[in-house]
Symmetry: C2
Subunit: 435 residues, 2 copies
């Protein structure tokens, strides 16, 4: 006996997908969430997993646990192979197929190497817990090896760090690495002195944090430089190979190369065969559905959705969350209003640079320094899903604020790490801060 | 310029190695700790990582952080290839060699498959964080797949769990799995009913917890059975292959097979070419040194050290800790007292069976139920290294006691998990409880 209720399928358990499901939980519909992994991940804090501040369990929650109280929501762990929008069916890799009445694609994004996919092997980004753990192992192993070496070129390259891309992720990674690598003695490395660490933040454009007001970008640059980070502007990367980053101005040798320079939408969108922009996002109408298929909605990093000035909305958690809520409410209504129109409310952006250092732009008000950091911490703790995560992250941050320690410096998998500099398939995102 | 101070090398950063180093920290000696991984692990709680209760970071701490305040202690991340006791030198895999004046081997143990090493691939044990995470992924993936299947043999086998070995580790794993798998609905699995889970604890001998008083073993068995665990006594495993456990009484089909049946000492000891017992432990004198090489000490799971009745001491954290302290104090003295004699003080043993259920034997006093569980929790939290870990684990246990939730149900690496049932090199230990 098939249910008469409408079946809504949501692909992706990120900010957009969860917001959609939560907005639909009291509606008279059946919902299925499909995700490749079993957990929702608070990606804006993933860099803190990579830099040994937080445990993966602090910023991730099982999707089942999030929607456990909602009997109309079913969760499927599975990889979608393709979507046939004409027959309204999803095909999974395991051979199962799932029909839908309405589909919400919240499939997120992956790192964009702008045609140089071969760089991914040597300059991984971070999109998943697994990616972040690999970066963590790489960074820790480098320090361990350096600790055992006398002065040499190998030692110098092990203590060199290159972060490519001056958006919030790049800035946050550079700041966090400066705190670990620049404070070797505090973390128990006897031979690593602050001046040994060379940290480069490389940006092709003329400024960092270009989604922020210019004055905040300048402040962030100064803060980073005070922490010992060399910020190279107008410096495009020309080539990357194993342990080497080539710039127009020279060559940097290091196994520690992190890519944070751009994203592209999930390749799953290609199977829809509809109009996409240059980074693979699907062009959606004002109600976030695809013009050709009004029962398919695209939200979050996968959607090319424009603001009132015709500029595409950025790939940010708050955009995905607001879009998810909008689509959820729209679908909860039995009658579809054709005039529904999504409007993004920009509450601001923030990036943290280090201990008690951050920049924030809230409704045009600019903050920097301790207060911005406090605001950043407060808002991020509140935005985490689950009471347990909120408490855990809050305690960890307090602890490391007062002790300067990082608790999760674990190398758990040496077999993986002996080939640390070659990752399987790195991909990532410009992780700006949700406000 | 070489230091005139005596150089003591400790291999292994487990309970024994850390205790030795801490006992030596104020001595006028140079100390080097060598470990394959960069962290000390509280192995008695590793099963809680495998069953998604705790994060690895909760029960592990970087060795560097533990000895950070002690300027005479150097930490090296490295794998020891062999030891030449005659020239007092250690050779590392990376080609380095390290001379020592005195050596403390606290190299621990690995799982013993009693001549059936080929079983390891299908029935992994747990000795490291990496092992425990693989088991966690296996258990979670099984439930995820089962949730999507209609009634079938495949579904039945996915919800079947076999734990081999009725020592504390086996008992604790069986209890923890019963809580997760037997409470599918509580954890968000809509189709998994309590009666679907079949959990077998298989023991070759006539009773479980045979290091405990017989009455406690019986109580533990009853508690497990009440939770739905089938405890099979006098049931040796005859063969293990992929997804299959063969017993004399029949065959159990499942991908979820966990080995907790015995340990053997680290194979590194073989390079000493001295007398070893049947499980590879080196026979030591009453001061824990090797009779042939009085400057080499063996402690913990690697040592065959006898109590006053001539029975070898068990592979327990408190034995290793007490031995480490003993050797550290001995070496801190400038003159060696030939009559030094290690005596183990047995403060008791405990095992937890589930939420608010445990058995304990403290100085001959037997406890079971809530009080034993409370005692178990209290002592384990206090025994963790680091204030942050103590607070974190305490909060997590309180949280899950009141909510019945397990927070760390993360499948982080599907690429690894698609071949979940074949692990690289599993090995484990009879993890009894430190008191």
């Amino acid at each position: 006996m098939k249910s008469e209720r409408k079946h809504i399928v949501i692909i992706g358990g990120g900010f957009g997908g969860i917001a959609t499901a939560k907005a639909l939980k009291n509606a008279d519909v059946d919902i299925t969430i499909i995700d490749r992994l079993n957990h929702h991940l608070f990606q804006p804090l993933l860099y803190q997993v990579a830099t040994a501040e937080l445990s993966p369990g602090d910023i991730a929650a099982p999707i089942r646990a999030i929607v456990n109280e909602d009997p109309n929501i079913k969760v499927i762990l599975g990889e979608v192979k393709k979507i046939d929008p004409k027959v309204k069916t999803i095909y999974l890799n395991n051979g199962h197929s799932i029909p839908f009445d309405q589909l919400v694609m919240a499939t997120g994004a992956q790192y964009n190497y702008f045609g140089h996919e071969e760089w991914a092997e040597f300059a991984p980004g971070m999109k998943s817990v697994s990616d972040a753990l690999k970066v963590r192992e790489q960074l820790l192993m480098s320090m361990e090896e350096a600790e055992q070496l006398d002065d040499s070129n190998r030692r110098k390259s092990l203590l060199t760090y290159v972060i490519i891309g001056g958006g919030p992720t790049g800035v946050e990674m550079a700041g966090a690495i400066a705190e670990v690598a620049g404070n070797g003695a505090k973390h128990g490395y006897h031979t690593i002195k602050p001046e040994d660490a060379k940290i480069y933040l490389i940006e092709a454009g003329p400024r960092i944090l270009n989604a922020f007001p210019e004055s905040l970008g300048k402040k962030a640059k100064k803060m980073l430089e005070k922490m010992g980070v060399k910020v190279l502007l107008n410096t495009p990367v020309t080539h990357i190979e194993k342990n080497k980053v080539h710039l127009q101005v020279g060559l940097i040798e290091t196994p520690n190369i992190i890519w944070a320079a751009g994203i592209k939408a999930s390749p799953l969108l290609d199977s829809l065969k509809v109009e996409q922009d240059h980074s693979g996002r699907v062009l959606v109408g004002s109600d976030l559905s695809i013009p050709k298929y009004p029962d398919i909605f695209i939200i979050g990093d996968s959607a090319h959705s424009e603001n009132k000035d015709g500029i595409p909305l950025p790939a940010l958690a708050p955009v995905a969350t607001q879009q998810g809520k909008f689509v959820g409410k729209l679908l909860a209504k039995s009658e579809r209003r054709s005039e529904a129109k999504f409007v993004y409310i920009d509450k601001g952006t923030m990036a943290t640079i280090g201990r008690a250092k951050a920049v924030a732009d809230i409704n045009g008000l600019e903050f920097s320094g301790f207060f911005a950091w406090f605001l950043w911490s407060f808002i991020h703790v509140l935005s985490l899903i689950g009471f347990r995560n909120k408490i855990g992250v809050f305690m960890t941050w307090m602890w490391s604020y007062f002790t300067h320690k990082r608790g999760v410096r674990l190398i758990t998998d040496r077999s993986r790490c002996e080939s640390c500099t070659t990752y399987e398939r790195p991909h990532n995102e410009l992780m700006e801060m949700p406000v």
